[in-house]
Symmetry: C2
Subunit: 556 residues, 2 copies
C-alpha cells in the first residue's frame, strides 16, 4: 500500500473538516501517556538533553561549509550548544532548483502521502520537540507541547488538505466537444498545476514550528521545493520536523533537498539574500512589520506574511465581571503576552461596565484585573507554567520602559520564581492606564506582557478606536464583552470591516489567544497584521499556476 | 419569485461547467435570427445609429460636471459624437463608498440574482453592443458580436459563478463542539465574507466589454462597488452594460452607484488618480505592460492585470503543411493581429519542417504563409471582415516601421478595400524573417498585424526561445506543431514552466487566438503577461476576506 492510500482516510477527514469548520483535531492535544505512550515524555526529554552541546546530524544535506548555532534557553539563560550545518546561498538555491524538477513531477497524491507520513513521524517526536520549544521560545511545557506538537501538526495537515483539494479542483484531462451545427469541434484538453518555484519559509522565535509548518507544507504539497530559514534563536524544533521530512523523502528515493534547512546567526543573516534571489518565487514570513512589509514589496514573488498587530478588547456589558477579569488576566499572562493573538488595548467606557448586578466602574474593573493577574502569578501551581519565560531580552527592556508610559501604572511587572529553573527570565504583566487621546502610545504593538487600559467616552468610542487600530496598525484577534445584541452586531460589523475576528463574551477555559486548526482562520489577510491566512484557499492557490494545453481529437 | 431563484438553474449549470471544463455556453455565439429574433440585428444597428452625436442618457448617475466623449470609428475615421456624463474623483469615490455599505449587506444570493438578470438584459442589446464595438475597436462584425456579446456574457457569468461558489465555501454559522474529557467547550461560530472595498476596473480599446466584464462581475458578486473606467476610445459598448446593471439595481431599490461609469478623455486622464486613491482596494486592468506593472506595484491593493506578451508558434513536424499555413495565416489576420492571443514569433528549424510527404523547407513554409495571407486578404467575401480595421493610428505606424526590421520582408502590409466602409483603416499582415540571434527585435510585443519568422538551429532551440520569451516578456498563447509525442511533451512541459497554454496542431476552423469561457483559463497569471486569470479561484478569492467571530453557546 502506498503512502497516499495509507493516509487517505485522514486526508478526507481533514478536507471535510476544512469545509464544515466544526471541531476536528488529528493529533490529540493532551500529552496523555495513554495516547502517546507511557515513556514518551521521558524519552523526549532524554532525547532533547542528548542533543545539547552536539552537532545536529539528522539532516541529509551533504557537505556543509560550517556548523553554527546560537540558541540559548530562556529558562537557564545558557547556550544550548547545538550546531547545525550551514551552506552557501548558491548551494541552497542550486540544490532547491534541482529538487524542483524532481518534486514537481511527483503526483499530487504521492506528495500528499509523503507529507502526511512525515507528520506521523513528527508525532513520535512531539515530546522532544516540546522540550526543544520550551528551551528556545520560553513557552511553558503544556503550550510548548500543544503548539509545537499536535496543534502545529493539525495546521500542517490543514495546509496539506487545502492544497490537495485545490490541486484536484480541475480535471487533468477532458474532451471539449463543441456543436457547430453540421459538425462538432472536438479538442482534448489537459490542465497542469505548475508549482511556482523555490519557496522560502522564514520562521520566528516564539512559535518556531506552529508558524512555519503551514507555509512549509502548503508549498510542498503544491510541488514547490522549500528552504526553511528558522530564527537563529529557535532552530531545534523545526530542524526536527525538517529531518523527518527528509527521512521520508529519502525512503521514497527522492532528493532530500526538496526540503532544506538553512540556518544562520545574528551576526551574519542570510534572509535578505535568499528572499531577493530571483529563483525564489514564494516567501512565507512571520515576524516584525518592517521586514514583513519589505518582503511584501519584492516584485515577482508571492509573499505570505504574518506581522504585528494591536489587539483590542472592547468592554461594554458583562454577565459577571469577575469571570471576565479572570479570563482576561489569563489571556494577558499566557506565555507572557508573547502570542500574536494576546490582547493589548482594553477599552472601558468612563461610565464603567454594565453588569447584571449594577455597573462596575473603570477603576473597579482595573482592580479586578490587577487582582487576577497577581493571584495567577502567585499561584505556584499555575503562575510559572502559564507565564513561561521571556524569549528575547529586548522584551524585558520594553516591559521596563512601559512604566514610563504617561498614565497610572495599575500593576508593575515583577519577577516570580520558577521552581524548576532558578535562572528563568520571567516577567509578570504590567498594566497601565492610558488616556484615549494619547493614540501615539497605544497605536503600536508593545510585544510582551504589557497591557493598556484605555478610558473611552462610551462603547461607540471604544469600537471606533478598536476598528481604527486594526485598519491602520493591524489586529489578529479581538475580544468583546456585551450582553446587548445590537451592540454585539455593531462590534461584529465594525471589526469585520477591519478584517479582525472577534471572540465574544469568553469566560472559563477558553481564551481569545487560542485559534483552532480546521475552524479558526489565523490572521485574515485583510489588515496590516498580515496578508495571508491559515488556511484559506488563497493561501494555497497562489503557490501554483493552472496551465491548460489543448489539441484536436483528430489532428491533421 | 426572486431573481436568485429565477436564475438558479443557469447558475448551477455555470458552476458545474467551471469544474468540468467541457463545452458550455450560456449565450449562443451565432447571431442567428432564430435565436436572437428576426429584427434584432436591424434594431441593434438602428439603436447604435440613433445614439450617434447625442448625450448618452441611459446611466443613473446624477449631476455630472460635464459631458465628454472622444470616440471615433476605425471604419469611418470620424467621431461618433457621443458624450457621457463626467464626475469629479471625489464624487465617484464618495458615491462608491456609500454604495459599498449598501451592496455589502445584500446577500450573496441576491447579488448573484441581480447580476445574472443584468446579463439577461444585456443579451437584448447584443447587436447594439456589436455595432458599438465595431465602431470603436475596428473589429469585424462577427467578432464584435461574439466577443462583446455572448462570449463576454459567458465570461461574466463564469466570474459570477466562481465568486458565488467561493462565497458558499464556508458555513455562515456552525456549532464548534470540543470534547475536553469531563465536559465540552461549545462555541457558536460564524463567518463573514467581507468585500475588500471600492473596485476600479480599467478597460482597453480593443476588447471593451470582453476584457472588462470579468473583473466587473467578479468584484460585484463578492460585494464590492465598482467604478468602470473605460478606454476613452471605446466607451459605448461597456456603457451599455453599465446602464443595464444600473437599471436592474434601481428596480431592486438599490443605489445604482454600486456600479458607476467614469469616462475621461486623452487630454485629461483620471486613471492614476483613481488607482492611487486610498479607498480603492481592487484594481483590474487590461493594457500595456508599463502601466500594468505600475499598478501592480501599488501597495495595499489587490491588482489584477492582463498586460502584453510575446506569443510564439513552434513548428517541428506536421501532417499537412498547407493546412497549417492556412490556419496560421488566419490567426495572424484575425482582427489584424490586435488580439492579445495572436501569434507573433514563428520558430522554424533551418532544416525545415518534417511532414508526412517529406520536409518542407523554411523558405517553402514562409512562402505558404505569404500565399495564405494574400489569398485571405484578397478574398472579398472574407478578407475585409476577418481583418477588420486598425483601432489605433499608432499601430499603422508600427506596421510601417516593421519594414525596417533587419531581415527579409516576405510580404509587406498593404491596404485592402472594405466594401462597406471606404475610409476603413486597414492593414494586412507584414511578415519579416529575423535572425534568431537578434533577440532584441523579437523579444517584445509588436502589437498589430506584424509577424516574424525566426530560423532556429532545431526544435530544441525553438522551444528554448519560446520559453525564454514567455518567462521574461510574457505570453498569453502558444501554438505548436509536432507529430512526435516526445517533442510534444517537451513543449508541453517547457511552456507549462513558462505558464503559457499551448494549442497543439490546430488546423481547420479553430485558432490559437480563441479562448472559450468555462474551459480555457485566459492568461495564467504565471508570467509577465499578467498576474490574473479568467476565471480561476484566485481571481475571486482575493476580492474579499473571510472573518470569523465566535461566542460560547452559554455565555456567562
Amino acid at each position: 500500500m502506498g503512502l497516499f492510500e495509507k493516509h487517505s482516510t485522514l486526508l478526507n477527514q481533514a478536507i471535510d473538516a476544512l469545509h464544515k469548520r466544526t471541531f476536528f483535531a488529528a493529533y490529540p492535544e493532551h500529552p496523555a501517556p495513554a495516547v502517546y505512550g507511557e515513556t514518551a515524555d521521558a524519552d523526549g526529554q532524554a532525547a532533547f538533553k542528548t542533543a545539547l552541546g552536539k552537532k545536529f546530524e539528522l539532516l541529509k544535506q551533504a557537505d556543509p561549509v560550517a556548523w553554527i548555532g546560537v540558541e540559548e534557553s530562556p529558562y537557564t539563560q545558557e547556550p544550548l550548544g547545538i550546531t547545525y550545518p550551514a551552506f552557501s546561498i548558491d548551494t541552497l538555491i542550486s540544490r532547491a532548483q534541482s529538487a524542483y524538477h524532481v518534486w514537481r513531477k511527483v503526483s499530487a497524491q504521492d506528495r500528499t502521502g509523503i507529507l502526511i507520513e512525515s507528520l506521523e513521524r513528527v508525532r513520535v517526536r512531539f515530546f522532544e520537540i516540546a522540550y526543544a520549544t520550551m528551551h528556545t521560545t520560553g513557552q511553558g511545557y503544556m503550550m510548548a507541547f500543544q503548539a509545537s506538537g499536535p496543534h502545529a501538526a493539525d495546521r500542517a495537515l490543514e495546509a496539506i488538505a487545502a492544497g490537495y483539494e485545490e490541486l484536484q479542483r480541475f480535471p487533468s484531462a477532458t474532451l471539449w466537444d463543441k456543436p457547430m451545427g453540421k459538425f462538432n469541434i472536438q479538442l482534448n484538453k489537459e490542465w497542469r498545476a505548475v508549482p511556482k518555484g523555490i519557496s522560502l519559509v522564514i520562521g520566528c522565535s516564539t512559535f518556531p514550528t506552529w508558524n512555519t509548518v503551514p507555509g512549509l507544507y502548503a508549498s510542498l504539497v503544491t510541488g514547490n521545493p522549500v528552504i526553511v530559514k528558522p530564527h537563529p534563536g529557535a532552530v531545534l524544533p523545526i530542524a526536527l520536523v525538517v529531518a523527518e521530512i527528509q527521512q521520508v523523502l529519502s525512503e521514497q528515493n527522492l532528493d532530500p533537498n526538496i526540503c532544506q534547512l538553512a540556518v544562520d546567526s545574528y551576526d551574519k543573516t542570510i534572509t535578505k539574500e535568499l528572499a531577493e534571489h530571483p529563483s525564489v518565487k514564494l516567501i512565507d514570513f512571520t515576524g516584525n512589520s518592517a521586514f514583513g512589509s519589505y518582503l511584501e514589496g519584492l516584485q515577482g514573488k508571492a509573499v505570505f506574511t504574518e506581522k504585528t498587530g494591536v489587539n483590542s478588547v472592547i468592554l461594554d456589558s458583562v454577565a459577571d465581571a469577575d469571570k471576565v477579569a479572570s479570563n482576561l488576566a489569563f489571556s494577558l499572562s499566557l506565555y507572557s503576552g508573547q502570542m500574536c493573538t494576546a490582547p493589548q488595548n482594553f477599552y472601558i467606557p468612563e461610565s464603567g461596565i454594565k453588569t447584571a448586578s449594577g455597573t462596575v466602574s473603570f477603576d473597579e474593573f482595573a482592580q479586578k484585573l490587577v487582582d487576577n493577574i497577581n493571584s495567577l502569578a502567585d499561584n505556584p501551581k499555575a503562575g510559572p507554567f502559564v507565564l513561561g519565560a521571556i524569549q528575547n531580552k529586548n522584551t524585558c527592556t520594553r516591559v521596563a520602559d512601559a512604566e514610563k508610559i504617561p498614565g497610572k501604572v495599575w500593576v508593575k511587572s515583577r519577577a516570580i520564581e520558577n521552581p524548576m529553573f532558578k535562572n528563568a527570565r520571567v516577567n509578570t504583566p504590567i498594566l497601565v492606564e492610558v488616556d484615549a487621546a494619547k493614540k501615539e502610545v497605544f497605536s503600536k504593538e508593545l510585544f510582551g506582557p504589557i497591557a493598556l487600559l484605555i478610558k473611552t467616552k462610551d462603547t461607540d468610542h471604544s469600537i471606533a478606536l478598536a476598528q481604527e487600530m486594526a485598519i491602520h496598525h493591524g489586529a489578529i484577534s479581538c475580544g468583546a464583552y456585551t450582553t446587548d445584541s445590537a451592540v454585539r452586531e455593531k462590534i461584529a460589523d465594525a471589526m469585520a470591516l477591519a478584517a479582525t475576528p472577534v471572540s465574544f463574551n469568553l469566560v472559563g477555559g477558553i481564551y481569545m489567544n487560542q485559534n483552532a486548526g480546521f475552524s479558526d482562520f489565523h490572521v485574515t489577510g485583510g489588515n496590516p497584521s498580515g496578508n495571508a491566512s491559515f488556511t484559506n484557499p488563497e493561501y494555497v492557490v497562489k503557490r501554483f499556476t493552472w496551465v491548460g494545453h489543448r489539441e484536436p481529437v483528430a489532428a491533421g
